[in-house]
């Protein structure tokens, strides 16, 4: 199948003298103040518009303005793009752009041997080297000889390029990232137009800044075209073969926000989104605060507990309450989630997981809150738990979380992670009109009313909201009588109610699709079972191993509690079950406990996503070792 990408802008065909590449990994690294995230985001857009498949990995420090030039203030953005399907942000960069010595120091060890290293020599003065902790200049001491080093005084060239705009030296130097972007655009033959448009719009009120940044982009591009530096050569990465449709780039936070809005619209409910700022979850609050036209109310609560409680109050009153946080914040919400379980009200709890315990590493990714989600409450308190596997998948999973919360009158925990929240990928935009509505019907019938009347199939209780005449009732955290909803301390009743709450959640397994095998046979020598953002590296590792002729399959779970009803049987069809996780073995333990299968773990908790090679090696070791 051949695919053709139609960019909105014209392309200049210079492919003739360019070297063709199937895929390439580029990492931009600099000081937090150097605008590396912005550079990466703009480059991502240009690459996507050119029809490549891609995956990105933004990696930035927790400090807002770490001291300039230090290693802990380094911010990086990696992108893997290509003519083939791209599933991860790439194990090793082929190209590293280092805007200062600190960025070099932190990132150079990842660059592949023979890789291209572009450095701004204008930032390699003695003072800069010292701040980064270099005793000798790495550019002259021979330590970089494994790489192809290209030294350019980007600072000076940027100053020259923007001189005409009359900016102060400080402001002018801030255009360095755009100069670099222009150079990289030339190297990969990517169109500047989208970036120029974006700069024009972004600095509409400061035209001199727009002009300077555009001049820098153009100068970097012209430099590539004219400079005859070894290493600075033109490449051509043809468009990828991608399913037809309308595409955009999307981050997990954006897709999640839109999915929650889509879900509440499909349910016919008003959304009350309650959150307390926390990294890396705040971007969802920000996105939704700007979507008021969709009957979305956002509430920045005084703390995590209040956020969860306000969401429960909103659900009690007939809206859909949603709360969002990261692991430490979800820990604070725990008692409130228990209340929602007890009174059986819908609630969506989004957890953008990050490295822990405690404050841990707020901007680094991990998937170590699975136990917290499934079991982390006092008493027998089951909830549904879902996980998104990619930025785009956040949309579908968010819709599903709203559907299950309202259909089963239960809290649903939706797990994403820091990597998913920030990473961007091309996304085929869904059509809202084609999604299946699941309108909520509030109870209005006074005949035989009690607040815990249940649906026979789902076991969900009715939703009777205040304001409805004749249905006045009282609910609370105390145990309720099965038949009347009144407070009850009866021993048999508590046994029954506990069992009903558990059965209701187990029943969800009958309402979700059976587990499919993503790649490979539904039985065989090894299943690699993953969940969440490890989808990309597992998928590529399994397909590489299969190309080598190994009998291995990939199973990726969206539904973590309850699990799909065929999962146990499916897993028992494999001799080995390998579970790669960014934690110390949480899904592995659950699979072993639930299905008595000999699951083995592959665990990584470095705050960085898996590399394909790490998983591939574990597969090979298991099957050939």
């Amino acid at each position: 199948m051949s695919a053709r990408a139609q960019s909105t802008a014209e392309r200049i065909d210079t492919t003739a003298e360019r070297r063709r590449l199937e895929s390439v990994v580029v990492r931009f690294a600099g000081d937090s103040g150097d605008g590396m995230q912005l550079t990466g985001t703009r480059f991502t857009e240009a690459v996507a518009l050119a029809g490549n498949d891609l995956a990105t990995f933004p990696d930035f420090p927790a400090e807002i303005r770490a001291p300039t030039g230090t290693t802990y203030g380094v911010s990086a953005f990696q992108i893997n793009f290509g003519a083939r399907e791209i599933r991860t942000s790439g194990d090793q960069p082929d190209v590293l752009v280092a805007m200062n010595p600190a960025a070099l120091k932190v990132n150079v060890r990842d660059l592949r041997d023979g890789g291209l290293l572009v450095v701004d020599t204008g930032s390699f003065k003695d003072r800069d080297l010292k701040k980064a902790g270099y005793e000798q200049n790495p550019l002259t001491d021979g330590s970089l000889k494994r790489y192809q080093v290209v030294e350019i005084d980007i600072s000076k060239l940027t100053l020259e390029a923007v001189k005409a705009t009359g900016l102060s030296q400080r402001d002018a130097l801030r255009c360095k990232n755009m100069w670099t972007l222009g150079l990289v655009y030339w190297m990969y033959d990517r169109d500047r137009k989208a970036t120029v448009d974006w700069l024009t719009q972004r600095f509409a009120k400061r035209p001199e800044l727009a002009a300077a940044n555009i001049a820098a982009v153009n100068a970097g591009h012209a430099f590539g075209e004219t400079a005859e530096l070894p290493g600075i050569q033109g490449f051509y990465v043809p468009p990828a073969s991608i399913s037809p449709g309308l595409y955009r780039t999307v981050t997990g936070a954006e897709a999640l926000s839109w999915g929650l809005v889509a879900g509440t619209q499909l349910a016919g409910l008003k959304m009350v989104f309650c959150s307390y700022p926390i990294t890396p979850a705040s971007s969802v609050l920000h996105a939704l605060a700007g979507m008021k036209q969709f009957d979305v109310l956002t509430f920045q609560a005084e703390d995590e507990i209040a956020a969860a409680c306000a969401a429960i109050g909103a659900s009690y009153a007939g809206a859909l309450g949603i709360t969002s946080s990261s692991g430490p914040g979800v820990a604070l919400k725990t008692e409130a989630i228990g209340l929602a379980i007890g009174v059986e009200l819908p609630l969506v709890v989004v957890n953008s997981q990050r490295a822990g315990p405690s404050t841990g590493m707020p901007t680094k990714t991990e998937q170590s809150d699975l136990f917290q989600s499934v079991w982390g409450r006092n008493a027998d308190s089951p909830v549904a738990v879902l996980a998104a596997r990619s930025a785009g998948d956040c949309f579908e999973v968010a819709v599903e979380a709203v559907r299950l919360a309202t259909r089963f009158m239960t809290p649903v925990i939706l797990l994403t992670d820091g990597y998913l929240a920030n990473a961007a990928e091309p996304w085929r935009i869904p059509e809202f009109a084609k999604l299946q509505p699941f309108p909520v019907r509030f109870h209005t019938d006074t005949a035989g009313f009690q607040p815990f009347l249940r649906d026979e199939t789902t076991l969900a209780r009715i939703w009777a909201k205040p304001g409805t005449p004749g249905l006045e009732h009282r609910i609370g955290g105390l145990e309720k009588d099965y038949n009347t909803g009144h407070i009850s301390y009866d021993p048999d009743n508590h046994q029954k109610m506990t069992e009903v709450r558990a059965a209701k959640i187990r029943n969800i397994a009958n309402d979700i699709p059976p587990q499919i095998v993503d790649q490979g046979r539904p039985m065989g020598r090894m299943a690699v079972v993953g969940w969440g953002s490890t989808y990309g590296p597992i998928s590529r590792a399994v397909s590489n191993a299969r190309k080598r002729g190994l009998d291995v399959s990939h199973i990726h779970l969206r539904y973590l509690w309850p699990m799909p009803r065929n999962l146990g049987e499916l897993l028992r069809g494999y001799e080995q079950v390998l579970v790669p996780e960014m934690n110390m073995g949480q899904l592995k333990a659950i699979l072993r406990a639930e299905y008595l299968v000999p699951a083995a773990g592959l665990n990584k908790v470095s705050g960085q996503p898996f590399k394909i090679a790490q998983i591939e090696q574990a597969i090979v070791a298991g099957l050939e070792g």
Binding site: L49, W258, L297, I305, A317, G321, E335, A336, G338, P466
Partner: protein, 342 residues
């Protein structure tokens, strides 16, 4: 379907649920719930639009005894739950019932923000200066030296004043009542209800088991007249059996002083006139403690826009600017997109 029926105005007893009250015999809560029933009946409230929200504690059982909607939640968090209710449906008439531990200890932060934001709810704090449901420990309003199971040698903490706290965090309506004052308390509750925004009412409530007589110093019959001052907006701050006592501003010390009309040349013109909109005066009245008279009634009332109205106004403004129905498809297609064809 239920045919709409014309119902006569509900009577106080119509607001009682079918559940048997389970407070200790002689508990002040019995008197308070009677006042609440009466206030709701006087106000012409409807059961379906009234919601009682509570946290944990003796007072928090309140919603179960009402025939309205009710939500008995978790310790200290009723203000947060109530805020969510008002965001979802601002039309509901929401009352929060809390105690001194629930409101000022575990839930102090939420009460602060509820009052500061000015969410349109009525917050009733039943202050008995003790923990009842957990069996008698001292509370954040217990007086210094209170002996309790957890402070056998007496508490060493200074208490918080509920009304001074409420004024300090920006409440726009602050009032006080006494459980047994069956004429006055419903009037205070009605004023609280009439106020748009967060209305804070501290009710002195006697715990007959763990802190009996805690407020006798100003509530016991023989002393009540001389130990309480009942506030009325625009009226001189007079009290006492013959209304001969009054409050005057001691300018040199910048504090209130109790004086007697006709003594030492004090005339009615010397007596301060209560102004509910004056927060400085409210603060001085809130701080009065025996042997000065304890201020009862509406200390402060100065309405400001409510939180949920402001939130809703922003939504309405955004929606009014939309030329057509909000379109998620259009939103998701904003910015740079590209088409891949087969």
């Amino acid at each position: 379907m239920n045919a709409p029926t014309k119902i006569d105005k509900l009577q106080p007893k119509d607001f009682a649920s079918d559940q048997e009250l389970r407070w200790c015999p002689g508990c002040g809560d019995y008197a308070i719930i009677k006042s609440v029933h009466k206030a709701l009946a006087d106000l012409g409230a409807t059961r379906e639009n009234t919601v009682f929200v509570s946290g944990i504690g003796c007072a928090a059982r309140f919603p179960y005894y009402m025939s309205t909607y009710g939500f008995h939640t978790i310790h200290g968090r009723a203000p947060a739950i109530a805020s969510g209710i008002k965001l979802a449906n601002p039309e509901l008439d929401v009352w929060i019932v809390s105690g001194d531990g629930d409101a000022l200890s575990i839930g102090g932060n939420h009460l602060l923000h509820l009052l500061r934001r000015n969410v349109d709810v009525n917050f009733l704090l039943f202050n008995n200066e003790i923990y009842g449901l957990t069996k008698g420990q001292y509370s954040p309003t217990s007086r210094l030296g209170t002996k309790s199971p957890s402070t056998p040698l007496g508490s060493v903490e200074l208490p918080v004043s509920a009304t001074v706290f409420a004024l300090g965090v920006g409440a726009r309506f602050v009032a006080r009542g006494i459980d047994t004052q069956q004429q006055r308390l419903p009037e205070v509750l009605k004023r609280a209800h009439a106020h748009r925004g967060a209305s804070f009412v501290e009710i002195f409530q006697n715990c007959i088991v763990y802190n009996d007589g805690a407020f006798d110093g100003f509530t016991a019959k023989p002393v009540a007249d001389e130990a309480q001052i009942h506030l009325e907006h625009g009226k001189p701050l007079l009290y006492g059996k013959d209304r001969k006592r009054g409050l005057r501003l001691d300018l040199r010390r910048l504090r209130l002083e109790a004086v007697t009309l006709g003594e030492a040349g004090v005339g009615e013109a010397d007596i301060l006139v209560h102004d509910e909109t004056n927060r400085t005066l409210a603060g001085m009245l809130a701080a009065l403690e025996p042997p000065m008279p304890v201020a009862i009634g509406v200390l402060y009332c100065d309405p400001a826009p409510t939180y949920e109205a402001a939130v809703q106004r922003q939504v309405d403004e955004v929606r009014a600017k939309q030329s057509r129905a909000p379109d998620l498809d259009a939103l998701m297609r904003r910015g740079h997109t590209w088409t891949v064809t087969a």
